[in-house]
C-alpha cells in the first residue's frame, strides 16, 4: 500500500536518477527515462490496473495499453502507477477508493484530478514524465494545480486502446512533463494510428520538437471573452497571469485578438450529459461475473443473478461513479434520450462550430486552465456541481476534440501554481507546443520545485 499521501497506488518507485533521464530527454529520447502511468492505463507488468476503484482493486491486465507499449519500445521504464479519481471521475483525486494524493505545493490542497497522481508525481520530481488521461480536463487541470506541463492531444491522435474507458468520445491520453520540450518528445512517441482503436486517425505525426522555435511569429492568438464571464469569475491572479501572457506572446511575435465562443456557457451542461451517458455504458462490464469485485467471491454468499449485479456494483463503485451511472442511464432511457443525450450532442456540435469559426481568424486560443488555483481537501467534495465547474475552461476543447496544453504561468499569493491553457486547431499540436514553449522560455516558472 502507498503511503498516506503518495502520488502512487501500489509500490512507490525508488527516487529516480533524474540526471540520467534529463540527459536523454534533452536529446528528445526516452531511453531509460522513468515514467509513471495513471492507473487507468492498463499494464501487463504484474502491477494492478485498478482505475482507483474497489471494483478493480484486484485486477491485473493481461495486456499493455498501446501508449504503454509505445513508451516501452522507446526505452522508457514504467516505474509506478499513479492515483486518480475513481474511473477518472473527479477533479481532485479525492474520489480515489484506494489512496489519497496531496498537492506537492501544499499538502492541505488537492492535486487536481482526475490525473492527480501523475501531476503530483511529476511536480514532486519523482519522475520526469507521467501519462494521464483527459476526458474533460483531467490532464490540464491537475497540471495547472501542480505547476507542470499537461498536454491533451487532438481526439484520435493517440490510441485509446488500454485506457479504461470513461467517456469514449472524449477520452484521450495526455502527458505530464516539467517542460514543453519533454511534452513534445512524449507526444511524438505515443501519437499515431492504432489498428486496435477505430477512432485513432491515420495522420502524419510531425517532429514536434522541431516545431519549438522559441517564437510565435506570424501566429494570431485569440482570447475568448466568454471565458472571463463565467459564473463565480476567475481568480484575480489568474486573470493577471493571462494579461501578462498576452504581452509575452505579443513580444514573441504573435498578434493577440479578442474572439467569441458564444456557446461556451452550455459546455459544462453538455459535458455532464454526454460523459455520464457514455460512462454508464462503459462501466456496464463491471458486473461481478468475470473479473473485478464480486459478491460471489465470498463462498458463503447466496443470492440471485440480479443480486450479483446489484450488490457487486453497489459495493464496488464509489458514490461519484454511482452518481454518473445513474445520470447517464437516465439520459439514455426511452422517452428521455431525445431531450437529453440527443439534444446534448446537438449542442456539442454548436460548441465545436464556435471553435471552427474562431479558428478561421486565429491560430490558437489563450485561456485560463482553471478558474482558481488548487482548492483544499473537502472544500468541494460534498458539492458535485462546484466540483464540476472546476472543469469549466477545459471541457469545451474536450467536447470539440481539440488539442490543448496547460503550462505553468506563475504563482498566486499563496504560492500555488497557476496554469494557462492554449487550445489549437484539430491536429495542431505542433502550433500549440510552439506557442507554449515560446511562452515558457520567457519565465523560469517551470524550473521551480515544490518545497520538500
Amino acid at each position: 500500500m502507498a503511503d498516506a499521501a503518495s502520488p502512487y497506488l501500489g509500490t512507490v518507485p525508488k527516487p529516480a536518477d533524474i540526471g540520467v533521464a534529463r540527459k536523454a530527454l534533452d536529446q528528445g529520447s526516452l531511453q531509460s527515462v522513468p515514467v509513471a502511468m495513471k492507473d487507468i492505463i492498463v499494464t501487463a507488468d504484474g502491477r494492478k490496473s485498478t482505475a482507483a476503484s474497489k471494483m478493480l482493486a484486484p485486477y491485473g491486465s493481461p495486456y499493455d495499453a498501446t501508449v504503454v507499449r509505445k513508451m516501452l519500445k522507446a526505452g522508457a521504464e514504467v516505474v509506478g502507477k499513479t492515483n486518480l479519481d475513481e474511473f477518472a471521475m473527479g477533479a481532485s483525486t479525492e474520489n480515489s477508493a484506494l489512496g489519497k494524493t496531496v498537492n506537492p505545493w501544499d499538502p492541505e490542497r488537492v492535486p487536481g484530478g482526475s490525473s492527480g497522481g501523475s501531476a503530483a508525481a511529476v511536480a514532486s520530481r519523482s519522475v520526469p514524465v507521467a501519462l494521464g488521461t483527459d476526458t474533460g480536463g483531467s490532464v490540464r487541470q491537475p497540471a495547472a494545480f501542480c505547476g507542470v506541463v499537461g498536454l491533451k492531444p487532438t481526439y484520435g491522435r493517440v490510441s485509446r486502446y488500454g485506457l479504461i474507458a470513461m467517456a469514449s468520445s472524449l477520452d484521450q491520453a495526455g502527458t505530464f512533463t516539467t517542460t514543453v520540450a519533454d511534452a513534445a518528445t512524449v507526444l511524438g512517441t505515443i501519437a499515431g494510428p492504432d489498428p486496435l482503436d477505430a477512432t485513432s486517425v491515420d495522420r502524419e505525426v510531425p517532429d514536434y520538437r522541431k516545431a519549438l522555435t522559441g517564437d510565435v511569429k506570424g501566429l494570431t492568438v485569440g482570447i475568448p471573452k466568454e471565458y472571463f464571464e463565467v459564473e463565480g469569475g476567475v481568480q484575480l491572479e489568474i486573470g493577471e497571469a493571462i494579461e501578462q501572457a498576452k504581452g509575452d506572446l505579443r513580444k514573441a511575435g504573435a498578434k493577440v485578438v479578442d474572439v467569441s465562443l458564444p456557446h461556451t456557457k452550455y459546455a459544462v451542461s453538455v459535458y455532464y450529459l454526454v460523459m455520464p451517458a457514455e460512462a454508464s455504458s462503459n462501466l456496464a462490464r463491471y458486473d461481478g461475473i468475470r473479473y473485478g469485485h464480486s459478491v460471489e467471491r465470498d463462498a458463503d454468499w447466496q443470492g440471485s443473478l440480479e443480486d450479483v449485479y446489484f450488490q457487486s456494483r453497489a459495493q464496488g463503485f464509489g458514490p461519484e461513479v454511482q452518481r454518473r451511472i445513474m445520470l447517464g442511464t437516465y439520459a439514455l432511457s426511452a422517452g428521455y434520450y431525445d431531450a437529453y443525450y440527443k439534444k446534448a450532442m446537438q449542442v456539442r456540435t454548436l460548441v465545436t462550430r464556435d471553435f471552427e469559426q474562431a479558428f478561421e481568424k486565429v491560430d490558437l486560443l489563450l485561456t485560463p486552465t482553471t478558474p482558481t488555483t488548487a482548492f483544499k481537501f473537502e472544500e468541494k467534495a460534498d458539492d458535485p456541481l462546484a466540483m464540476y465547474l472546476a472543469d469549466i475552461f477545459t471541457v469545451p476543447a474536450s467536447l470539440a476534440g481539440l488539442p490543448a496544453v496547460s503550462v505553468p504561468a506563475g504563482f498566486d499569493k499563496q504560492n500555488l501554481p497557476i496554469g494557462l491553457q492554449l487550445i489549437g486547431k484539430h491536429w495542431g499540436e505542433a502550433t500549440v507546443l510552439r506557442a507554449a514553449h515560446a511562452y515558457e522560455q520567457r519565465h523560469d516558472w517551470h524550473t521551480k520545485e515544490p518545497p520538500r
Partner: protein, 498 residues
C-alpha cells in the same frame, strides 16, 4: 387446419444469420468456434476487458452489404453501430454492439418461387431491414449445479439480422422463405446457414385476422425456432392456439412464447410488460461508416446469379422439372457442377445432342448415384460438400452412356460407384464394363422362368391383383442384373399373363 379458413395468419420473421468470416466481428479472434475448448477463442476485446476497443471487421461489413443488396435492400449513404444495453452473463460488455436506426440494409423485397397446389407461384416478401451485430456467448447449466458456465468463444461472432415485413401467410410459406434465405446465404458464400448448428436462427411474429381485414391482430413472438420443422410445427401450433382463443371470444395477449416440441404446443415465456428498455445510443468507439466508400459498385458486380434466377433458368433452359431444378441449384457449387457435367455430356464421341435429355440424365446421376456415394463416403449432408473437380466430367460421360442406351440406371450405378471410389478413367471403364445387350429371346426365357418360379403372384395377377406382377418384374430385373428395362419387362409380363 379448420382455423385456416376462418382466419388469415400474418407472419413476420426475424432471422439471425451467422457470418462465416475468418475472424470475429470486432476483434481478430478465430470465428470458427466448432471444436474449440470453452473460452479458447477469446481476447481482451471479446472478453470485454477494461480498456479494450472494438474494431469492425471489414469483411463482415462488406458481407452484410452484399446480403442486403441480394435481398433488394436500399443501402444508406451513412450507417453506424449502436450499443444495445442489457445485463446478462453471456454479454461481456453489458451491451451488444448492434445497429439501431441506420442499418446497412433499408427496405427491400425478396422474391422466390414455390409450388402451391401443383402450381409454381412467385412470392414477394418485404424486407424491413438488415443490420449487423455481434453474437453473445453461450451459457450452459450443468444438471444439479447451483451455477452456470459461460463460454465466450461465440461472443463477437458477426450476425446479420434480417427482419421481414408481416407478408408471410402460412407456416409452409415461412418455412419456405427460410429455406430460400438459407440458399441465398450459401450462394453469397457468407454463411453456412445451418439451422441445426445455429448459423441461422429464426423468431417469428404471428397474429390472426379475419380474411379481408386490413388491421393486424395482436401478435405473439415465437422464439428460437431452431429447425425448419420447428418453424412449421411451431407456427401451426401457435395458429391453432390463437384460433381457439379467438373462437372462444377471448383475446390474444402480446407476449413472447416458445415452442415445446414434446407437447407440440407453444408456451408463454415473457409478457409485454417485461419488455426491455435497451437504451440504444451511437457506439462512440466506432466512427460512422459510408457504405459507398466501401465500394458498393464492386459488391454489386461481385454478386452471383441469385438462386431464384438460376432455378428459373434451369427450368426454361434445360427443361427440368421444378423439383429437379430445386435440387440442382441448392448451392453455387451444385450449379457449377451441373453445368460442367452438361458440357461434358454434350461433347465427346458419343455426345448427347438433345440438351433436355442430357440435363435429365445428369440430374438422375448427380442426385441418384452421386448422392449415394457422397453420403457413404462422407457421412455428411451432400449439400455442404464440394465436388472434386473431376466429378462433372465423370457425370457427363455417365450421362452419355445412359443416353446411348448401353447402360440403364441400374447397370450404371455400380460402375459409376467404382469409377468415383477408385478414381478410374470414366470412358475406358464404362466401355469395358458395358453390360451385354439382352436379346429378345433371352429376355423371353428369363420372364418365363420368373413366372414359373412365382406361381402365386402369377395367379394373383390373373385374379385381378395388379400389384402382384411386381414380384415377377423384380425377379426378372434381378436375373438380368438390371440390364433390362423395367417398364418393358412389366409390359411383357402383363402380356404373357393375360
Amino acid at each position: 387446419m379448420s382455423g385456416a379458413s376462418r382466419y388469415e395468419a400474418v407472419i413476420g420473421l426475424e432471422i439471425h444469420v451467422q457470418l462465416r468470416t475468418k475472424s470475429k466481428m470486432f476483434c481478430r479472434c478465430d470465428n470458427q468456434a466448432d471444436g474449440a475448448k470453452p473460452n479458447e477463442l477469446t481476447c481482451p476485446v471479446c472478453l470485454g476487458l477494461p480498456g479494450a476497443l472494438p474494431v469492425p471487421n471489414r469483411t463482415a461489413v462488406e458481407w452484410a452489404i452484399k446480403a442486403a443488396l441480394a435481398l433488394g435492400c436500399a443501402i444508406p449513404d451513412e450507417s453506424k453501430f449502436d450499443r444495445k444495453q442489457y445485463f446478462y452473463p453471456d454479454l461481456p460488455k453489458g451491451y451488444q454492439i448492434s445497429q439501431y436506426d441506420q442499418p446497412f440494409g433499408g427496405p427491400g423485397t425478396f422474391e422466390f418461387d414455390m409450388v402451391e397446389d401443383g402450381k409454381t407461384v412467385t412470392k414477394q416478401i418485404g424486407i424491413t431491414r438488415l443490420h449487423l451485430e455481434e453474437d453473445a456467448g453461450k451459457l450452459t447449466h450443468p444438471k444439479g449445479a447451483d451455477y452456470s458456465l459461460v463460454d465466450l468463444n461465440r461472443a463477437g461472432t458477426p450476425l446479420a439480422e434480417i427482419v421481414t415485413e408481416p407478408d408471410l401467410r402460412s407456416p409452409a410459406e415461412a418455412k419456405r422463405f427460410l429455406q430460400e434465405l438459407r440458399r441465398l446465404m450459401r450462394y453469397l458464400g457468407i454463411s453456412d446457414a445451418d439451422m441445426e448448428k445455429g448459423h441461422l436462427r429464426a423468431d417469428a411474429n404471428i397474429s390472426l385476422r379475419k380474411p379481408g381485414e386490413k388491421k393486424l391482430g395482436t401478435k405473439t413472438e415465437l422464439k428460437n425456432l431452431n429447425s425448419f420443422r420447428f418453424v412449421e410445427r411451431g407456427l401451426a401450433a401457435e395458429i391453432e392456439r390463437q384460433t381457439e382463443l379467438l373462437d372462444a371470444g377471448k383475446s390474444v395477449d402480446q407476449e413472447t412464447r416458445g415452442f415445446d416440441e414434446d407437447g407440440n404446443r407453444t408456451v408463454s415465456q415473457r409478457g409485454k410488460e417485461e419488455a426491455h428498455d435497451y437504451r440504444y445510443f451511437p457506439e462512440p468507439d466506432i466512427p460512422p461508416l459510408e457504405p459507398k466508400a466501401l465500394g458498393i459498385k464492386k459488391l454489386v458486380k461481385g454478386l452471383p446469379e441469385l438462386p431464384v434466377e438460376v432455378k428459373r433458368r434451369f427450368i426454361t433452359e434445360y427443361g427440368l422439372q421444378p423439383d429437379q431444378a430445386e435440387l440442382l441449384t441448392d448451392s453455387l457449387d451444385d450449379v457449377e457442377y451441373f453445368e460442367a457435367s452438361l458440357k461434358a455430356a454434350m461433347s465427346g464421341k458419343n455426345k448427347i445432342n438433345d440438351r433436355t435429355k442430357a440435363a435429365q440424365n445428369i440430374s438422375k446421376i448427380a442426385y441418384g448415384i452421386g448422392r449415394q456415394i457422397m453420403t457413404k463416403k462422407m457421412l455428411n449432408s451432400f449439400m455442404e460438400l464440394d465436388w472434386p473437380g473431376s466429378y462433372p466430367s465423370v457425370t457427363g460421360v455417365g450421362a452419355r452412356y445412359l443416353a446411348s442406351g448401353e447402360y440403364t440406371m441400374s447397370t450404371l450405378n455400380p460402375v459409376m460407384e467404382r469409377i468415383w471410389e477408385e478414381d478410374l478413367d470414366p470412358e475406358k471403364t464404362l466401355e469395358k464394363e458395358k453390360p451385354q445387350k439382352l436379346g429378345q429371346s433371352d429376355l423371353d426365357k428369363i420372364i418365363d422362368q420368373a413366372i414359373a418360379d412365382n406361381p402365386k403372384p402369377a395367379a394373383d395377377f390373373k385374379a385381378g391383383n395388379e400389384n402382384a406382377k411386381q414380384v415377377i418384374v423384380g425377379a426378372v430385373m434381378k436375373a438380368t442384373k438390371g440390364a433390362a428395362n423395367a417398364r418393358e419387362v412389366a409390359q411383357l409380363v402383363e402380356k404373357k399373363l393375360s
